[in-house]
Subunit: 338 residues, 2 copies
């Protein structure tokens, strides 16, 4: 919550930059993203100023195990979307990367492919995870592309861990990519991805075992719970060969169908749940920062920790006592609802 500015602050630089982003200035967008990634002082102001202009872009998340060809798929899908006349923003998020910003190798390869096409904006970023979920920068960058006016924002993650799952929660449409014969391909998907997938992509489907992978996925979909949610939208399983472009038009059509379904019923609910969680997470972070700075100055806490080190009291009971002593006792009453 550090320096959470409001549009009323005199951050004139941020205001100017935000206006340029909203007017489609490419260099301003790049600068704004860098500020967000570096957590610079006016990043929150910038995000606040861009936020009212968001909501237009179709955010498509692309995840799946390493080696499933996600990058090639994103590139191919981009060409199809461009041919359909929509502008594209691509964000490749690597939670394990120690590098922030700048172009990594994959970026340069892509830049060449879509070079000269101002309809494609590409950016790699390292997503740090913090207690309480996804680092705010990732969300801010996606929103910056939305405010910039991109019709479609493709968010690609490198792996399939908790961070990637959290990133996918930001997307309107989630594509889960796998390939035939990837040892624990379907097994990997089981862990959390099944619940969030809006569309399965069996990439490199010209390889042996493609039919089996499709059959496995279909079985999983049938067995998996969440039937309620599936009544309106059953995730299709689409076979692609990203390198040749096969299946990519069908995939784009599925993405568009999914968005129409979202628009017609659940999108508002989903958006609301997501935003509520985001606000509550930020509240929890703000309070935790507050609490930590207070506890850091509290001698009684150190005395308690000494007891834990001497194995006289266990950590959980110690925490329980600290909470009971310092917080619950003087329970804050919320003001009445107006």
């Amino acid at each position: 919550m550090a320096a959470a500015g409001t549009p009323d602050d005199d951050h004139k630089g941020a205001r100017e930059l935000a206006e340029r982003v909203i007017n489609g200035d490419w260099r301003a967008l790049a600068r704004a993203i860098t500020k967000m990634e570096n957590d610079s002082a006016d990043a929150p102001t910038l995000a606040a100023l861009l936020y009212p202009k968001t909501g237009h872009g179709h955010i498509i998340g692309v995840t799946g195990p390493p080696g499933s060809g996600k990058s090639t798929l994103v590139d191919g899908l981009t060409s199809v979307i461009r041919a359909d006349g929509r502008s594209v923003g691509i964000i490749a998020v690597d939670p394990s990367s120690p590098f922030t910003g700048g172009a990594v190798l994959g970026d340069r390869v892509r830049m060449q492919r879509h070079a000269g096409d101002s309809g494609v904006f590409i950016r790699s970023m390292a997503a740090r995870h913090n207690a309480g979920g996804l680092a705010p920068a990732t969300r801010d960058v996606i929103r910056a592309l939305d405010a910039f006016g991109r019709d479609v924002i493709l968010v690609e993650t490198v792996g399939v861990g908790q961070v990637e799952l959290d990133i996918m929660k930001v997307a309107d449409t989630v594509l889960v990519v796998t390939v035939p014969g990837l040892g624990d391909g379907v097994q990997t998907i089981k862990a959390g991805l099944l619940e969030i997938a809006d569309c399965f992509v069996v990439n490199q489907s010209d390889r042996p075992g493609a039919a089996q992978t499709v059959a496995d996925l279909r079985t999983m979909l049938t067995l998996g719970g969440a039937e309620e949610r599936r009544r309106r939208w059953m995730p299709p399983i689409i076979q692609t060969v990203a390198t040749s472009g096969k299946g990519l038009e069908e995939l784009w059509a599925a993405c568009q169908r999914h968005r129409l379904v979202l628009e017609s019923d659940e999108r508002m609910g989903r958006t609301r749940d997501r935003l509520r969680q985001e606000v509550l997470d930020a509240v929890a972070r703000g309070i935790a920062a507050d609490v930590n700075s207070r506890l850091a100055e509290d001698g009684e806490v150190e005395t308690m920790i000494n007891s834990v080190v001497r194995r006289e009291i266990d950590p959980r009971t110690a925490a329980h006592k600290i909470v009971a002593n310092h917080f619950r006792r003087e329970r804050i009453r919320l003001p009445p609802v107006p």
Copy 2:
């Protein structure tokens, strides 16, 4: 912090079970671990009762990319440690597994290998991650094995994500395993593991490229910062062939040397830092739970979220206002240090 019991509670069952664990009752240990994994009501009491008997076991964490042969290494190392007359507890943690408890395939294979040796206790568990770090169950289970009297506790993780890093922070000695020719082997290690490794293991070192992998690791160690910490202990790089047992005695010797160094100077500091963090994390979780339940009943928060949904105010500013209105305004004063 739900139902955080203290030894004063009348949880007689937990008290009996804890005594049996401390007295080395194998079946009691298995039952206690199941309770911890399932987050049953008396698990916190059980953990509190076992905690004073911990601190004896040497906790060795084993991590590294999939395919580096960690399981085979743990098996071989176990044989060496057993031959040295020490008892062993093995916990295989799979953060991505949806299964809790019970024996997975790897477990059964191992069970056979060390079958009939009461000096080896093996358990697989799924480690769920929550906001604020490692799920408490993992720590509790490691401590249960410690209180049970195991001389060495080997904690093996499946992957190399954030969860695995957090698990490794619980270990006294961290082994980072890699293999020659694993695509991004050294690259993977760069992401966070370099800082926490106490010993590097180049497994399957009879494969081509072993010397190169060792050289790469050495370069990384030389380039990496943290020189201060390395003055007392420079992580050795040990080549093993886990399947044949080559290098495993050397590895065990390195683990023991590392523990001696820990004992002599930094162990208390490390332990203290770790326990402080554990207590503060639990405090943060307790407060967050408290805050969430209060906010859930607060109509003003819903009004604020409505504004966010209508894009009138951004999520960060909304959170800032909630914190400012409801918490900072009535800032709790801590009682003076006694």
